[in-house]
């Protein structure tokens, strides 16, 4: 074991922190067509199963005094519902199922990604960019449908001095279009970085002397990742609510 590690050390430590993110077909073959069932498909499917188990199977008894699983479902419901109501306003309650979908998917995908040897779907920009663009498009279309051209008032800071307003409008416009970028990169970046760091520490564990430290570091990182998994889902959801509020009430 030790000689093996030293052998690896001689050829340089073997770090492949990004290999865990490789998309590969599950049912053989090399080509990844749009319909191919890959590890992404599997873990997306497991996320759906997790959501169904939490919110449908868990609440199937409809008990007035809830069981534990029903409590979790109700807790998630209350958490997101209150967020939508408080941040986006009462008239945004119609978007609650949509926001709940985003939150439950991200939370479940993040936590499933923490299972060792699993594939983390939310670490891929392909996934988070789609999520962020869905929010961006929804918010933009909704803003124009609800407010017409008044939605452009979002970029025209009427409380600022007139001379500053064009400059502020440019800044606001840029920041508006940067939203989906930061929205998606924040989630994927956090998740990816944490998983990659764990893998790097795992690579160091090949050296017998360092391995205890490495295991400790992995444990600590794992704890941090559990936190990040929830917080990033929360951040993504609350930002969605904030953007939604901008679309419904564009005045500053």
């Amino acid at each position: 074991m030790a000689t093996e590690a030293h052998g690896a050390e001689e050829g340089g430590l073997v770090f492949h922190p990004m290999d865990q993110f490789i998309v590969k077909p599950l049912l053989g073959g090399d080509a990844v067509h749009w319909y191919t069932i890959t590890n992404v498909t599997l873990w997306l499917f497991l996320a759906v199963i997790a959501v169904v188990v939490l919110l449908v199977v868990g609440t199937s008894r409809r008990a007035v005094v809830p069981s534990r699983s029903q409590s979790i479902g109700e807790l998630a419901y209350g958490f997101v519902y209150k967020m939508v109501e408080d941040v986006a306003g009462k008239d945004a309650v119609g978007f609650f199922p949509y926001i709940m979908t985003l939150f439950m998917f991200i939370v479940c995908a993040n936590f499933l990604g923490l299972i060792p040897m699993s594939f983390t779907t939310t670490s891929h920009f392909a996934v988070t960019v789609v999520l962020a663009l869905l929010v961006f498009v929804t918010v933009t279309v909704l803003g124009f449908v609800k407010n017409g051209t008044k939605f452009l008032g979002l970029f025209w800071v009427s409380s600022a001095p007139l001379a500053l307003r064009p400059i502020l409008a440019v800044i606001e416009l840029i920041s508006y279009f940067v939203r989906p970028v930061s929205h998606s990169i924040r989630l994927a970046g956090n998740v990816m970085a944490g998983h990659a760091v764990i893998k790097v520490f795992a690579g160091f564990a090949a050296i017998a002397v360092i391995s205890p430290v490495s295991v400790l570091a992995i444990t600590a990182m794992y704890g941090l990742e559990v936190l990040v998994s929830f917080i990033q889902a929360y951040v993504f959801t609350i930002l969605t609510c904030v953007y939604l509020k901008d679309a419904l009430h564009p005045s500053h």
């Binding site: 865990q20 998309v23 890959t38």
Partner: protein
């Protein structure tokens, strides 16, 4: 773990090995696949949530809220009843106390009246008896005075005769009347 994934990647073909040093996230050749399956996932979750899970949880929460409200109302009602019962009890107690006071006052008045009656009767009796006694005493005194006068006359006639004088009845009567007048 690391070697296992390396093997998997190695056995995966040249393109995967080539992409290994970079970020698999930026391998745009499989974005279509990921986006397709993600959209499927989101649509499925959305329908499961909006058709089944969320209405069910909302119903459960509403039912619980209703139950709690009902129970609170019931508790309020019971509390009101308890307060009412206490009030009735206090009222009954106050009534009983007032009645007792009345009875006591009545009894006292009755006793006082009886006492006054008895006292008056006794007073009257005493007064009657006293008057009778006084009358008797006056009679006795009157008869005594008469007796005194008779005795005095007899005595005076005797004394006068004993002294050798002769006294007629008229003079003696006048003298006794004069002396006993005072």
């Amino acid at each position: 773990m690391a070697t296992e994934t390396t093997e998997a990647a190695a056995g995966h073909g040249a393109d995967a090995a080539a992409s290994a040093p970079g970020m698999p996230q930026l391998d745009f050749s499989n974005w279509g696949n990921q986006i397709f399956w993600l959209l499927v996932t989101l649509v499925v979750i959305y329908f499961v949530l909006s058709r089944i899970a969320l209405p069910r949880i909302a119903a459960v929460l509403a039912e619980r809220q209703g139950t709690i409200t009902n129970d609170l109302a019931k508790a309020e009602e019971l509390k009101r009843q308890a307060v009412e019962a206490e009030e009735a009890y206090n009222q009954a107690l106050a009534d009983a106390r007032a009645e007792a006071q009345n009875i006591i006052a009545e009894a006292k008045a009755e006793i006082t009246a009886e006492l006054a009656d008895a006292t008056a009767k006794a007073d009257a009796e005493i007064a009657a008896k006293a008057a009778e006694s006084e009358k008797a005493i006056a009679e006795i005194r009157a008869s005594a005075m008469e007796n005194v006068v008779i005795v005095a006359k007899d005595t005076a006639a005797e004394i006068v005769s004993a002294l050798g004088g002769k006294a007629d009845a008229k003079t003696i009567d006048a003298a006794v009347a004069e002396r006993t007048k005072g």
